[in-house]
């Protein structure tokens, strides 16, 4: 497969046969860096509103069309140990902030690229890492001074929309206004009074057909299912939620019913019928209008449910059952018992509807108490829907961050340029070898305006020099405008390109940490994989052969 790498005499022979062993600056560090660079290059083209999409076909043959870096790297199955560190860093970002995953990888890649040239000039990797960390400290110091906008009232839909726009723009360019409004509406409407916002309370329901602009928000939940019985609409309904199947109880232990006399045989089924009827009747008398079951609704039960004009909905996922219990304020019951008034939930309207040609059951709660809202996404293809869903996801996460910290910094690469400018200045005041590394850190930050320009099809160098000039004049929020023709610059704040402060804060941190970790590695030892080399699968056809 590859060149034979000469092993250090002695050490290699101590290891089990098949183990790989690399050490030294040339072999380990440079190699790691070039692998990471290559990896960062892959996701660079998806950065920004003009970024391209990737088609990723994962090992289960599922196709993703996306420009969400988190999805791409998750499906890519990265093998390289150093590149995996970058993946981990970006996953941390995903968990902490939920957005800006691409930023982490690109920046870590740029840092490593900068480190490579420093190593080649003879700098010690440790010095470089120290320098990077110092620069990071400085950057995090400067960052709060760049805050240009703050959302104080995160219940104000309009303000929130503004904050979400940039995050959506990089995923679904062209639809950002519509989507951010939708997300803001969905999030703000269910914001609880006291507790914090839970990402899980905004649901997404994808229904193919029509166009994206027909998407809407529903207060409550939407399920792609049909009702079980014949009743399909209930207003002001009281809801009983069961996690169990609504059916005659089956014994777990295998048993037989022993019948001794003819009379017993005759009474048997009659007894069963009246038993079920009594159970259902009791529910009706308790005031239940809608029964939500976590399992099968038995035929006999259904008959009586229909008879007493109740609505039955079956949900397959127990998470959905839990959520519906939360939405309606019901207590999910593990057994088919009559709920007490406190255990019953309430919903303004439960009905079936046809969207496209998909039948859905809608639990709608107009009142303030609704704790779950659903975004119904429409779109022509499944892949598009999946991708929009990811964008909505990012938007919701951004909202979560807004509720915690509503500070914003200018977007459109203005923040990065300003940071680069100030850090470069700071570098000159540092004695010692770190100075080189700090300077390179500043240079690495340039990768963002550069990538934006490249992805838009504009000359990156020209953009950079113009941006620097503008920032030198004191226009701190001057950013690159991708919408105009060719070279265009705009004030990011007035144009509404705002990035979350926390996103930038954590992204810088994680990226630098990842880069430093990789630089500090000087030996790689890989044990032989258990089970021997895997046989290549018998020739899957190249995707673009036609």
């Amino acid at each position: 497969m590859a060149l034979h790498v000469p092993k250090a005499p002695g050490f290699g022979s101590m290891l089990k046969e098949g183990a790989k062993f690399f050490s030294g600056v040339e072999e380990a560090v440079i190699r790691n860096i070039s692998a990471c660079k290559e990896f960062a290059q892959t996701v660079r083209t998806v950065y920004g509103p003009h970024g391209m999409n990737k088609m990723v076909i994962n090992h289960l043959d599922k196709l993703f069309v996306t420009n969400d870096a988190a999805t791409i790297i998750r499906e890519l199955e990265v093998e390289h140990p150093a590149a995996k560190i970058m993946v981990l860093a970006s996953q941390m970002q995903e968990q902490e902030v939920g957005d800006g995953t691409n930023f982490v990888i690109i920046f870590a890649g740029a840092l490593l690229e900068a480190a490579e040239s420093l190593i080649k000039t003879g700098l010690n990797p440790t010095d470089i890492a120290d320098g990077f960390e110092k620069a990071l400290e400085k950057a995090l110091e400067i960052l709060p001074t760049l805050v240009c906008h703050e959302i104080k009232d995160y219940r104000n839909e309009e303000e929130v929309t503004k904050g979400l726009k940039t995050s959506i723009m990089s995923k679904q360019f062209g639809n950002e206004d519509f989507l951010s409004k939708l997300i803001a509406k969905a999030c703000v409407s269910i914001l609880p009074e006291k507790t914090t916002f839970n990402v899980d309370n905004v649901r997404v329901c994808k229904i193919s057909g029509s166009g994206l602009t027909s998407s809407s928000v529903v207060q409550g939940m939407v399920f792609k299912r049909l009702v079980e019985g014949s009743v399909s609409k209930k207003e002001k309904a009281k809801i009983a939620v069961y996690t169990c199947p609504v059916d005659t109880v089956q014994t777990e232990t295998k048993g037989t019913v022993l019948i001794k006399t003819a009379q017993e045989l005759k009474d048997f089924s009659k007894g069963e019928e009246s038993l079920v009827e009594n159970e259902i009747k009791a529910l009706k008398e308790a005031g239940v209008d809608v029964i939500v079951a976590g399992g099968k609704v038995g035929e006999l039960c259904l008959h009586f449910i229909n008879k007493y004009e109740m609505m039955a909905v079956r949900l397959n996922s127990k998470f959905d059952v839990r959520r519906i219990a939360k939405t309606t304020g019901a207590t999910a019951l593990p057994r088919l018992t009559v709920p007490t008034p406190e255990e019953m939930g309430y919903c303004d309207l439960v009905y079936t509807d046809e969207i496209g040609d998909t039948m859905v059951v809608v639990f709608r709660n107009e009142s303030k108490e609704s704790r779950v809202s659903t975004v119904i996404l429409r779109g022509a293809t499944e892949y598009l829907l999946d991708d929009v869903e990811r964008a909505v996801d990012d938007g919701i996460n951004t909202f979560k961050c807004i509720t915690r910290d509503g500070r914003f910094v200018p977007g459109a690469a203005a923040t990065e340029i300003e940071l680069a400018r100030q850090i470069a200045k700071h570098a000159d005041t540092c004695p010692g070898l770190e100075q080189y590394a700090i300077k390179k850190f500043a240079q690495a930050l340039e990768v963002f305006p550069r990538t934006l320009a490249e992805n838009t099809g504009v000359k990156p160098n020209e953009v950079l020099s113009r941006l620097y000039a503008a920032h030198e004049e004191g226009k701190k929020s001057e950013g690159f405008d991708i919408e105009g023709e060719g070279l265009n610059f705009k004030d990011a704040v007035t144009a509404g390109f705002l990035d979350l402060f926390v996103t930038k804060h954590w992204a810088l941190k994680y990226a630098t940490n990842a880069a430093c970790t990789i630089i500090r590695v000087d030996q790689i030892i890989m044990a032989k994989r258990a089970g021997g080399p895997q046989a290549r699968p018998a020739g899957p056809q190249d995707a673009d052969e036609d």
Partner: protein, 541 residues
């Protein structure tokens, strides 16, 4: 430089860059070429043999795309939009694929020259919005006030939908039937309340529309022949009970100690069955329908008492019977009352072709109807069914959204002209919407090509007419010429066109926005990393 440690898993395929984009476009065009010839009244049909050896003859874009089993990742997008169009509107599936293919074809030279694909995407999105605005502006609303006029306009929509299908020869016959069928439904217009039954034999004109329910005679036991086959105003009991001697419960066990007790048990079993039958009889029901089998004992019991029964009735038929006749499906015989039983004016069993059919007509609720389709070959009837489905969907859409536009390429030409006008006012790269304008012309062009006309000639004539402001001029298939299609009554609901344009441009933009494909090696099971995106959110399955 070769890596000692590989970056991605072994066996991962990856392709990137402009060539990748071009190759995706080529794949999509190949798909579009497949269905190209089926467009329009003179379009040809396709015969597809699937891996089971079953042959399907179809002219319906969505059906063909589904049967093709496309594996190319980019081309699968086109299959998706065809399906989505089918779901949303039910017709226009060929046009949507064709349009998407053409949109991509127009952009290909620009991509090759190095225009950034995001610029084209932006232009296309803008063009789509312009088109939709324009359609809404010029669409004509059908008046609902005048009953006869409303009906006539619905019929015209149905006729246009059918004119491109196999049954276009009989479209006058069918358009009435389709509109009748849809008008019989209740406000939600549920599609499954129109049953389509296929009976081989006879001619297409023998197809009949039943105002009520009709289904094929079910399997019956001895004694069935003695039952009467027609009733007036019968009561109908709808059951979900097995009327047969059977174990009451699977895991019940009977232990008897003496012979006398044994006889009693046997009697009791019979007793249970007769008890049920007696109850049904006492309720006054004349017709007994059950989802589960009705055995010979029950069959003979009923025929002795001048009653009719049918077991193993398919569930959807039973549901439609409820809609038509009222009543509800019962799981026990204890509740048989007048309120839970249905009724209809007339029930009869009739012979159609080689099959016997049960007819329920004159139903009090009549929210449902059944089309009994006749015809020669099986494939032919399948295709007729699909065509009727399309026509029914179109009429439903026309009723829900009452705006219509002229078909036959007229609306496409008008949009094309409008976009050309707009593009002249734009200075920048977004002038690319002229590509969209050119792509729209593919519909009239293909209509001509399929009919064997000189498309260039006809298109020139059309452009001239539209430039003069005659906005409804389109291709006249009958006379190899152009005509005012609004007058010629070639009408389509505007929703069909709007949805087609949105879907096509969304698909085109999606394909254009891809610059890299990475294919991971297949793994055996769903182990790690196989979790779909979005952390399990938003998948209400």
């Amino acid at each position: 430089m070769q890596h000692q440690i590989i970056l991605l898993k072994e066996g991962t395929e990856s392709s990137q860059g402009k060539s990748q984009l071009i190759s995706n476009i080529n794949a999509c065009q190949a798909i579009a070429d497949c269905v190209r010839t089926t467009l329009g009244p003179r379009g040809s049909d396709k015969l597809i043999v699937n891996n089971n050896g079953n042959a399907t003859i179809s002219n319906d874009g969505a059906t063909i795309m589904k049967m093709l089993d496309v594996v190319h990742p980019a081309a699968r997008t086109l299959v998706d939009i065809a399906k989505s169009q089918d779901a949303e509107v039910g017709d226009g599936t060929t046009s949507v694929v064709l349009l998407a293919g053409e949109l991509l074809r127009q952009v290909k030279p620009y991509i090759e020259e190095g225009v950034h694909s995001q610029v084209t995407i932006k232009a296309y999105r803008k063009a789509t919005n312009l088109c939709i605005e324009k359609i809404n502006e010029i669409a004509v609303t059908i008046g609902k006030t005048n009953e006869a006029e409303y009906r006539a306009s619905l019929e015209k929509c149905a006729a246009t939908a059918m004119s491109s299908k196999l049954i276009h020869g009989q479209k006058d016959f069918f358009k009435k039937m389709v509109v009748d069928a849809v008008l019989m439904l209740d406000t939600l217009l549920p599609l499954d309340m129109i049953g389509i039954k296929k009976v081989p034999g006879g001619g297409l004109e023998d197809t009949l529309l039943v105002q009520g329910v009709a289904f094929k005679k079910t399997f019956s036991y001895a004694g069935f022949e003695m039952q009467p086959k027609s009733y007036d105003n019968p009561k109908i009991a709808l059951l979900n009970i097995e009327l047969e001697l059977k174990a009451e419960r699977d895991n019940a066990e009977v232990r008897v100690s003496n012979v006398a007790e044994y006889q009693k048990i046997v009697d009791a079993e019979w007793g249970i069955l007769y008890d049920k039958l007696d109850k049904i009889h006492q309720s006054g029901a004349k017709i007994v329908l059950s989802k589960l089998p009705i055995g010979d004992v029950a069959t003979q019991y009923f025929s002795d008492r001048d009653m009719f029964c049918a077991g193993r009735v398919p569930e959807e038929d039973l549901k439609r019977t409820i809609k038509a006749c009222g009543g509800s499906v019962l799981t026990t015989v204890g509740d048989l009352k007048d309120s839970t039983m249905g009724t209809c004016e007339r029930f009869e069993e009739k012979q159609i072709g080689s099959d016997r059919f049960n007819f329920f007509t004159g139903c009090p609720h009549a929210k449902t109807c059944t089309v009994v389709l006749r015809g020669g070959a099986e494939q032919f009837m399948d295709e007729t069914e699909r065509s009727l489905h399309d026509a029914i969907m179109i009429v439903r859409r026309a009723m829900k959204n009452d705006a219509i536009v002229a078909g036959g390429g007229a609306i496409e030409m008008e949009l094309s002209k409008y976009l050309r006008d707009v593009s002249r006012t734009i200075a920048g790269k977004e002038q690319l919407l002229i590509g969209y304008a050119k792509a729209l012309e593919v519909i009239p062009r293909q209509l001509c090509d399929n009919a064997g006309f000189d498309s260039t000639n006809i298109l020139n004539k059309l452009r001239q007419k539209h430039a003069q402001g005659h906005k409804w001029y389109g291709v006249d298939i009958m006379n190899e010429d152009i005509a005012d299609n609004f007058h010629e009554c070639v009408w389509e609901p505007s929703l069909v066109k709007i949805n087609a344009l949105t879907a096509a441009s969304e698909a085109a933009c999606l394909i254009l926005s891809v610059d890299e494909t990475v294919k991971n090696p297949k793994s055996g099971g769903g182990d790690m990393g196989g979790m779909p995106a979005g952390r399990g959110r938003g998948r209400p399955m």
